[in-house]
């Protein structure tokens, strides 16, 4: 299922404003890649360009190439709707649909594909997704309750279940733990470890320890000043980035000297 991503020389614009400049990065299938860097360095913007979610903002566009297993994400025959069905996303704040039950939340993506499913089939998808998201045991008795009644950490795992229920190729996570307590965070980090056997995972995090704990590869983004575009400074094996980075800026950031 999982696919690799190859980004070459990607510029991201909002109107005339160049937000992210010249990113080239390979992302291997079935691995966890973490994006770290100070606020405003464009890591979230870059993440959102990987499933074309940045296009939600009017005037957003990109220059360069993003290849998913060799297929051009921004090719003229590529529909952003299909891109997003292939590449799931989990957001900074848990956002289950408040008007839907837990059950319907998990199936929301399936319903968009407008597949008519038998009850048994949808039951199975709900159970499988919730199990993968490590939430099944906690909610199996209240699948018809609203998703908004869960705790923050549970809601976030519900969102993960919703994202993986359609079996995407890639899972993007935009600071998935920043609104959660340490215990929920650790549950989700364990989950990421399990999910990477099946999915390609890209995670943006402000928490460097988290990047060190969960990721195989780490990419450090930085910007040279206010109003300047964000850049990818360096990318490499996580152990190497955290122990022996090549760029002095990376080292300074990791040691907590700025950011």
């Amino acid at each position: 299922m999982a696919k690799s991503i190859d980004v070459s020389d990607l510029d991201i614009f909002y109107g005339d404003f160049l937000a992210v400049e010249g990113v080239t990065i390979p992302i291997a299938a079935r691995s966890v890649t973490a994006f770290i860097g100070p606020s405003g360095c464009g890591k979230s913007t870059f993440l959102r360009s990987l499933n074309r979610m940045h296009e939600v903002i009017p005037g957003a566009r990109v220059d360069g190439k993003v290849l998913i297993d060799g297929e051009d994400l921004y090719g003229s025959d590529m529909d952003p709707v299909n891109v997003r069905r292939m590449i799931g996303m989990v957001f900074q704040r848990p956002n289950p649909f408040p008007t839907m039950s837990i059950y319907d939340n998990v199936l929301a993506g399936q319903k968009l594909n407008s597949k008519r499913m038998k009850k048994a089939e949808s039951d199975e998808i709900v159970e499988r997704s919730l199990r993968s998201a490590g939430l099944w045991a906690e909610v199996k008795d209240r699948l018809n309750r609203p998703g908004s009644g869960l705790s923050g950490g549970q809601q976030q795992r519900l969102c993960i279940a919703r994202a993986i229920s359609v079996q995407p190729e890639v899972l993007l996570m935009d600071e998935p733990c920043s609104a959660l307590d340490p215990i929920s965070t650790s549950i989700i980090e364990d989950l990421i470890h399990e999910l990477k056997t099946e999915y390609t995972i890209v995670i943006v995090t402000h928490n460097m320890q988290q990047a060190a704990r969960v990721s195989d590869e780490t990419a450090f983004f930085n910007l040279s000043g206010v109003g300047k575009p964000g850049k990818l400074v360096e990318v490499g094996r996580t152990e190497k980035i955290f122990s022996n980075p090549e760029d002095p800026a990376t080292e300074a950031y990791i040691q907590g000297r700025f950011g």
Binding site: V81, N82, V83, R84, R85, G88, M89, P98, S101, N113
Partner: protein, 314 residues
């Protein structure tokens, strides 16, 4: 600290004059609404009861109260419901266009034009209904009778003037469109970005995003907007009185020259010539309208509350 550790009943929390003044003002305003409502209700009841109990030969209509007001209630509800059926889907569509489809500047201009519709006096709508719309509708009614006459709604004979309950409903729909649109637009704009992005990230098209994130979130607001519109349609007087050629029947035939009148229009048309108990009978019909509006609003609240825990407010 001191308030929670000292259970002494005499220690009062600090009160600031600004808070007290504002409390008094808002409390007073709330009371004023209740008093006004109570005043209207009491007036209608006191003045209406003699009309309800009056014997047929004492009032101009020559009927007991219930047979008299029955067709009026029917006409009122029929016109208002048809108006709602026409206006609410259009309003939701227009509101969604303004809030999520149109480029920002076009949407703003469009919203402004819709708001202007709300400022047109109802007598102007009435005049437009008679002078323009009714005439335009005549061939349509003829066509409906010829082709869809087997449906009781369009049984005909088609009105030659076009001044039917259906024409009235269209005028009413136009009149309630701005208020329903404006409220829907505001609620659509308030849908949390998070929920919209959740839908989009699952691969929803824009329409699916509306279905998945916007409509469920806006549900109670849409019902409220529809109820405000319905309230206006139920109570609209001038436009109905001008357009409708009424004859006090009970029929679902929407296109014939014999139409049920509405309570408000009937009061407006009959009041100038009414005297004695006939006036009381008209006021009593007003009481009935008052009660209908009340019931409709409570029903709407009940519908909204039924799925409260799924509303997104928690």
């Amino acid at each position: 600290m001191s308030t929670s550790t000292a259970p002494d009943a005499r220690t009062k929390p600090v009160q600031r004059p600004g808070d007290r003044v504002f409390f008094g003002l808002s409390y007073g305003a709330a009371l004023l609404i209740l008093l006004t409502l109570a005043g209207v209700a009491i007036f209608l009841t006191v003045e209406g009861i003699p009309g309800i109990t009056a014997s047929p030969d004492e009032v101009k209509s020559g009927e007991r109260f219930l047979p008299y007001v029955g067709p009026l209630v029917f006409g009122t509800l029929l016109a208002a419901v048809i108006a709602m059926i026409i206006a609410v889907p259009v309003a939701i569509g227009v509101a969604l266009f303004i809030s999520h489809y149109a480029p920002r500047r076009l949407g703003a201009t469009f919203g402004y034009i819709i708001d202007l519709l709300a400022a047109v006096p109802s007598v102007v709508y009435g005049a437009w209904g008679i002078a323009f719309l009714a005439g335009q509708m005549v061939p349509i009614y003829q066509w409906l009778e010829d082709n869809l006459g087997f449906i009781p709604l369009f049984a005909g004979p088609a009105s030659a003037t076009g001044r039917t309950i259906f024409t009235v409903a269209i005028v009413l729909a136009l009149m309630i469109l701005p208020i329903v649109t404006a409220i829907c637009r505001e609620i659509f704009l308030q849908t949390p970005r998070l929920h919209q992005e959740a839908a989009l990230a699952l691969g929803a098209t824009r329409w699916e995003m509306a279905r998945l994130a916007i409509f469920p979130y806006a549900r109670s607001g849409i019902v409220s907007a529809a109820m405000l519109g319905l309230g206006r349609a139920l109570g609209e007087t001038m436009a109905v009185a001008m357009v409708l050629s009424a004859s006090g029947v009970v029929t679902f035939n929407l296109i014939s020259p014999t139409n049920p009148s509405t309570i408000a229009a009937n009061i407006a048309l009959s009041f100038p010539e009414a005297s004695g108990l006939s006036v009381n009978a008209l006021i009593a019909s007003g009481l009935v309208l008052f009660v209908i509006t009340f019931v409709v609003n409570f029903a709407a609240r009940a519908i909204v509350d039924r799925r409260k825990e799924f509303s997104g407010a928690n």
